[in-house]
């Protein structure tokens, strides 16, 4: 029976929601086959990967903890992606946010008070936004492609953080090892659930998603972003250029990435170390697209990606599944999602080709 794709007259609304589900189902099926091929019982392995990590309160708290930076960054990036602003520099903005927040925590090392932690977070937001302002300036002033400039700045940020913790900010008690002092309790985010690492910062993710949703669907600025994203020329005809959109989306995304960075160091890490992120800034790009650039979709996709990370570790411990499987799963989800997207604009036909088609 020949299989054929037929263009839909209208993009299917149902498929917009169904495609991620199909993608995840396909990932699970192929994942099960993969596990079977590796010699594991597929059901046990999938359960170890996707169910056991979140079967306890502690596991759930870790899931939220892991998803928070992905969601914050993803939501911010998506706003830019909608407006054709391709910020690939969230990793660097996260690191500079961590540096700024961590610097504030170290500067206020001898101070205690309820206002210290908000200062740390505010510094993180400011740091991330300021770092994103660089590609914004280069793009609006010199027409330098922000994909390249923002990406390159990631490496600069990593080296800058390395220099700080190897040099001026190195802990005096740390035997010359590259790490700052541990932050004081005043600088750390209070825990939301005692006995876990889940801190109050997790609440920023839904807040940011909601704020972004308001911007996208209820503000004139959101309308401008959409118009410029679809047809840049139409924007200029309508009297608004891309400059404002570039500046706003980069600063907004940078600020949220910076917040995520500050929350990592003032949360689970508790000090500045050479590596503060396992690549959240890059994974968040996947989260943004997996969530269809919709703020609430990104909350869900961040949870899914976080689960894949957690599941990878858990399956290694429970069943000695190799680490590479985690990366294969991430790749499969993205691949199937992009593949399933075809179904939004096309429908699958099983009948013989009709001559009237097209």
């Amino acid at each position: 029976m020949p299989l054929r794709l037929e263009a839909r007259a209208e993009p299917s609304r149902a498929m917009v929601f169904a495609a991620p589900v199909i993608a995840i189902a396909a990932t699970l099926c192929l994942g099960g086959i993969l596990f079977a091929a590796l010699g594991f019982d597929p059901f046990t392995a999938l359960a170890a990967f996707f169910i056991e990590p979140v079967s306890t309160v502690y596991g759930l708290s870790e899931l939220l903890l892991k998803a928070t930076p992905l969601a914050l960054i993803g939501v911010g990036l998506a706003l830019g992606f909608r407006g054709n602003v391709w910020n690939i520099g969230a990793e660097g903005q996260l690191i500079i946010g961590a540096v700024a927040g961590g610097g504030m925590a170290l500067a206020l090392y001898d101070v205690s008070g309820l206002w210290v932690m908000p200062c740390v977070l505010a510094a993180g937001v400011a740091g991330g936004a300021a770092y994103a302002a660089v590609p914004a300036l280069l793009r609006t002033r010199f027409h330098a492609n922000e994909i390249l400039t923002s990406l390159m700045l990631n490496y600069v940020a990593t080296l800058f953080l390395g220099w700080l913790v190897h040099g001026p900010w190195r802990s005096p008690e740390g035997y010359n090892f590259p790490e700052s002092r541990m932050f004081t309790d005043s600088a750390l985010l209070p825990l939301l659930v005692e006995g876990t690492r889940l801190h109050v910062g997790v609440l920023f993710a839904p807040l940011a998603a909601f704020a972004t949703w308001v911007i996208v669907s209820r503000s004139f600025l959101g309308f401008q972003i959409k118009v410029i994203g679809m047809t840049p020329a139409a924007g200029s005809f309508a009297g608004f250029g891309p400059r404002r959109v570039i500046w706003f989306t980069l600063m907004f995304g940078g600020g949220l990435a910076g917040l995520a960075g500050a929350m990592e160091v003032a949360g689970p890490i508790g000090q500045l170390v050479p590596i503060v992120s396992p690549g959240y800034g890059y994974t968040a790009i996947i989260a943004a697209f997996l969530g269809r650039l919709h703020p609430f979709g990104i909350l869900l996709s961040s949870l899914l990606l976080a689960l894949i990370y957690l599941g990878g570790d858990a399956a290694q411990i429970a069943l000695a599944v190799p680490f590479a499987v985690t990366q294969v799963f991430q790749g499969m989800v993205l691949f199937f999602l992009l593949a399933a997207d075809v179904l939004i604009r096309y429908r699958v036909r099983f009948d013989a080709p009709r001559s009237v088609a097209s």
């Binding site: 870790e62 903890l65 035997y175 006995g195 690492r197 170390v273 050479p274 570790d313 290694q316 000695a320």
Partner: protein
């Protein structure tokens, strides 16, 4: 005060749970966990720790079950992984990278019945031991061979991060080379990574272009050995015997061997004799050794390096014996004096003969 009681309560609950698990231990094998920062296939640092784990499995068949988690990023994730191992009944957990120190210490406080061992750090506790190898002994002995073999008197050193461990290694290599060849100089290149084959290769090529004819490395990939092989200069492998990557270039390698230590520590737990210790041993305990020398190395050079190895092993020779001058020519260690371990542990200056700066 409230916090204190709650913490204590949590500890009590955990202890109870673990106590219950402990009673079943007679039948159940002892579970031992390992946390690696890199992939076990790196043929470098993590690979050697994994070899140690496999030696434990082989030694205690049926009595011990091991688990490992590879590629664990240093950062927020480590604590979750370590905690999960503790929670799933692992009675002894080795965390093998410096960046796991604070997370290990945190989890160790929450699981007082579980024994933790952290490699290369300095935080200890009643249930948290530390261990490390005196790799610098191997670097000194390999430096002796390098000092003899160089024709240009230019040696290269591919360094990862400017932490005391790496600085100490470069210094020991330099001191070893200059003990037999005072004209030898060591050029240090920082690649700011533990494992980055691309950058390591570039660094090796840059050094060779400057006339370097023996390359040592404190990074984990075999790329420098391969680059040296192509250009026809010597290279000293890191962590494991890398001769398969450079049959012509591979002079020797500084091999990390954790098997003996891991077996001893697991045995101690099985015997109920485990205590929190601070271990820093080298050639004498077999934690460090030199890989077989390349057949092309002249017998006299090989014999001299092996003699140095023997002397270090029998504590007749300490690589950091004065006089030792720093790069500015200032005497740091008086003639005949041996540097104290505490000073070795925080070493952040280069000895005379090192060309290159500490990134500041």
């Amino acid at each position: 005060m409230m916090m204190m009681t709650r913490r204590a309560g949590l500890a009590a609950v955990l202890a109870l749970g673990l106590g219950a698990a402990g009673s079943a231990l007679a039948a159940e094998p002892l579970k031992v966990g390992f946390v690696y920062v890199g992939p076990i296939g790196d043929y470098g640092y993590s690979h050697q720790h994994n070899e140690g784990r496999l030696a434990v499995e082989k030694r205690f068949v049926g009595k011990v079950k091991t688990t490992y988690v590879e590629n664990v990023p240093e950062g927020a994730d480590a604590e979750r992984v370590i905690r999960q191992l503790a929670q799933t009944g692992h009675a002894l957990i080795f965390t093998t990278s410096f960046g796991f120190m604070n997370p290990t210490a945190k989890v160790a406080r929450q699981f007082p019945k579980v024994k933790f061992e952290h490699a290369t750090g300095y935080l200890r506790g009643p249930n948290l031991a530390t261990y490390m190898a005196r790799f610098y002994e191997g670097r000194y002995a390999s430096g002796v061979a390098a000092g003899r073999l160089t024709k240009s008197n230019k040696l290269g050193y591919i360094a990862s991060f400017p932490i005391p461990e790496v600085v100490r290694g470069a210094n020991a290599f330099t001191l070893g080379a200059r003990s037999v060849n005072p004209k030898a100089e060591v050029r240090v290149v920082w690649v700011n990574s533990w494992y980055d084959p691309g950058k390591e290769r570039e660094a090796a090529e840059a050094l060779i272009a400057q006339g370097v004819d023996v390359i040592a490395q404190h990074t984990d990939s075999a790329a420098p050995v391969q680059a040296a092989d192509e250009k026809g200069v010597w290279a000293i492998g890191q962590a494991s015997d890398m001769s398969r990557f450079g049959p012509r270039s591979h002079l020797t390698a500084i091999v990390d061997d954790w098997s003996g230590y891991y077996i001893a520590r697991v045995q101690a737990v099985l015997d109920g004799a485990w205590t929190s210790t601070d271990t820093w041993r080298g050639f004498d305990a077999g934690m460090v050794r030199l890989a077989p020398f390349n057949p092309a190395v002249p017998a006299a050079v090989k014999a001299e390096a092996l003699k140095v190895e023997d002397e270090i092993k029998s504590h007749k020779l300490h690589p950091f014996t004065g006089p030792i001058k720093d790069q500015s020519g200032k005497e740091r260690v008086a003639p005949g004096k041996v540097m104290a371990d505490a000073d070795l542990l925080r070493m952040n200056w280069f000895v005379q003969g090192v060309i290159g700066d500490m990134p500041k």
